[in-house]
């Protein structure tokens, strides 16, 4: 690192740190959905990345439609595309739960295989439907360009926008989990499924809604993803491993843990990426995560109460 002056080093740290924040945003959006699904019904959804891609393609379709039909709306369409992406992934998630997942509860290994197979089917469906080439959406002008606080630091506007979106979605999920009736049902079921049923909660309905909601949030992640990268049929599979890492490291079922772990992993990778290269960066993050999990098997944040 001797080739850099202190000033350059600081600028690099700031920019890599910010790139880390963008990665953090996408990872967090993905992990939120995965974590609530795993927390609620112990289903590890291997197809979660593909639900993100559904959101991304939904955004792409929406943008193509707007470009062709209502070019005047191009500046604002993303605001509508995000709920559209959510809805698309939510509906597919609902159907998948109904057709596939609900038959496989209490069989964790089978759900793992089934959702992995589903992921392959979905990837091929994307390839058949949208072609193997990556597609990208037209960004509105206000999302392009960057913010330069000093001569050397360059912060892309779209990264900032994703962060704002992530904060809003995280706050929304937190509100839903801790203040809404649905959240109470989820937290009851997570603690003790039989007992939740025995106090009158229809756990089947809660499962379905939770699965669909988790997928919907992945759809939002997909909409966000289109603004920083182009979308291909296999884009989802690139994120799924890191997302699992985030969920396990954070402690399944803990919202705060998920946020903290997404932040740590994204920042670690992004900064190490610059100084020692992508693959070594990944190796080191993984090693650190494994070491910490050996000391704290329940993840970063596991609440301590008498059971």
């Amino acid at each position: 690192m001797g080739d850099f002056t202190t000033q350059e080093l600081m600028a690099i740290l700031a920019m890599q740190g910010f790139a880390g924040l963008s990665l953090f945003s996408v990872l967090l959006l993905m992990a939120l959905g995965l974590a609530i699904i795993y927390g609620q019904m112990r289903v590890i959804n291997m197809a979660h990345g593909e639900f993100m891609v559904i959101g991304a393609y939904a955004t792409y379709l929406f943008s193509t439609f707007i470009t062709a039909q209502m070019p005047g709306m191009l500046d604002y369409y993303l605001i509508l595309a995000i709920p559209f992406a959510f809805l698309a992934a939510f509906v597919v998630g609902w159907i998948v739960e109904f057709l596939l997942i609900r038959h496989l509860y209490h069989r964790p290994l089978d759900t793992l295989l089934a959702t992995w197979g589903l992921a392959l089917i979905m990837q091929q469906a994307f390839r058949s439907g949208f072609g193997a080439r990556e597609v990208s959406v037209r960004l509105p002008d206000w999302l392009q360009g960057s913010y330069r606080p000093t001569m050397m630091i360059d912060i892309p506007i779209n990264g900032l926008a994703i962060m704002v979106l992530t904060i809003l979605v995280t706050a929304g999920v937190a509100w839903l989990l801790y203040k809404s009736r649905w959240g109470l049902r989820v937290r009851c079921t997570t603690t003790n499924r039989e007992m939740a049923g025995a106090v009158g909660i229809n756990t089947r309905n809660v499962d379905r809604l939770t699965f669909a909601l988790g997928c919907g949030i992945a759809g939002i992640a997909g909409a966000a993803f289109t603004t920083i990268s182009s979308t291909g049929p296999t884009s989802g599979s690139l994120y799924i491993v890191d997302t699992f890492l985030v969920v396990v490291f954070g402690g399944a079922g803990s919202l705060l843990g998920t946020v903290a772990s997404a932040f740590t992993i994204a920042q670690g990778q992004s900064i190490l990426d610059f100084f020692i290269g992508g693959s070594m960066g990944k190796v080191i993050t993984l090693l650190i995560v494994v070491a910490i999990l050996m000391i704290r098997p329940e993840g970063l944040f596991a609440s301590k109460v008498r059971r």
């Binding site: 109470l184 049902r185 937290r187 009851c188 997570t190 603690t191 003790n192 039989e194 007992m195 939740a196 049923g197 025995a198 106090v199 009158g200 909660i201 229809n202 756990t203 089947r204 609440s303 109460v305 008498r306 059971r307």
Partner: protein, 230 residues
């Protein structure tokens, strides 16, 4: 109010409840007594729908409950306080009670009478359920069941693992509830003194069969004790 007839339950291939019949009348407190392993908890879990039954019927106020999932049984008017309390340990006391409001339509607020029955729960309302003492958790579990305004309340060994002074308190509370509301209580127990404080009728279960049925007023304590002795 609650009529159970010919109830048979198996774990895998071994049948453990061999055709149990009993009826709990309106506003009656019926105690089912028996030693550990005689099938009390199995009967209760089957009543609420956690375990599946092989044969027989469970009729609540004219409605057949067999085949319904737990939450539908609660909606039909059954409430369940399990052995070992099973409160939601990560949820606050308030949230635990609110969970019980699920099938009470149009109700979002915990009724004041719950906190007047269990003042300690009001004091602890922002604590996590898991940080309460055993006796407090038992009260919480009863409160959670009561807010659904049940016709029949099932209590599975409410005194297990609870200090004697609190056991007396729970007996008083149950009698108070019985006075305040139109409610049938079915309770499983091993402690005879507690049962005599609350029950109108006592039945004894042994190896999955009902072997004794007597009103409290003419019950022979020694005979029941002999059933309960190990």
């Amino acid at each position: 109010m609650l009529e159970v007839s010919g109830l048979k339950v198996s774990y895998g291939q071994s049948e453990v409840i061999h055709g149990v019949d009993f009826t709990a009348r309106r506003n009656e407190t019926l105690a089912i007594m028996g030693r550990n392993g005689m099938g009390k908890t199995t009967v209760f879990k089957t009543l609420i729908g956690i375990l599946k039954h092989n044969a027989g019927s469970i009729v609540l106020d004219g409605q057949e409950l067999t085949g319904l999932p737990s939450h539908a049984r609660v909606a039909a008017g059954l409430a369940y306080v399990p052995q070992g309390r099973m409160i939601f340990s990560h949820l606050t006391v308030m949230e635990n009670i609110e969970a019980g409001l699920e099938t009470a339509p149009g109700k979002k607020q915990i009724p004041d009478e719950i906190f007047s029955l269990f003042p300690v729960l009001h004091e602890m309302r922002h604590r996590k359920g898991g940080n309460l003492s055993g006796g407090q958790q038992q009260q919480l579990a009863i409160a959670r069941a009561l807010v659904s305004e049940p016709k029949v309340l099932l209590l599975d060994e409410p005194t297990e693992g609870i200090q004697p002074s609190i056991i007396k308190e729970i007996a008083q509370t149950l009698n108070e509830i019985q006075k305040m509301r139109d409610i049938t209580i079915v309770v499983s127990e091993q402690i005879l003194s507690f049962t005599l404080d609350i029950a109108d009728r006592l039945m004894v279960i042994e190896s999955g069969r009902m072997v004794h049925d007597v009103a409290r007023d003419n019950c022979d304590a020694d005979k029941i004790t002999s059933y309960l002795s190990v």
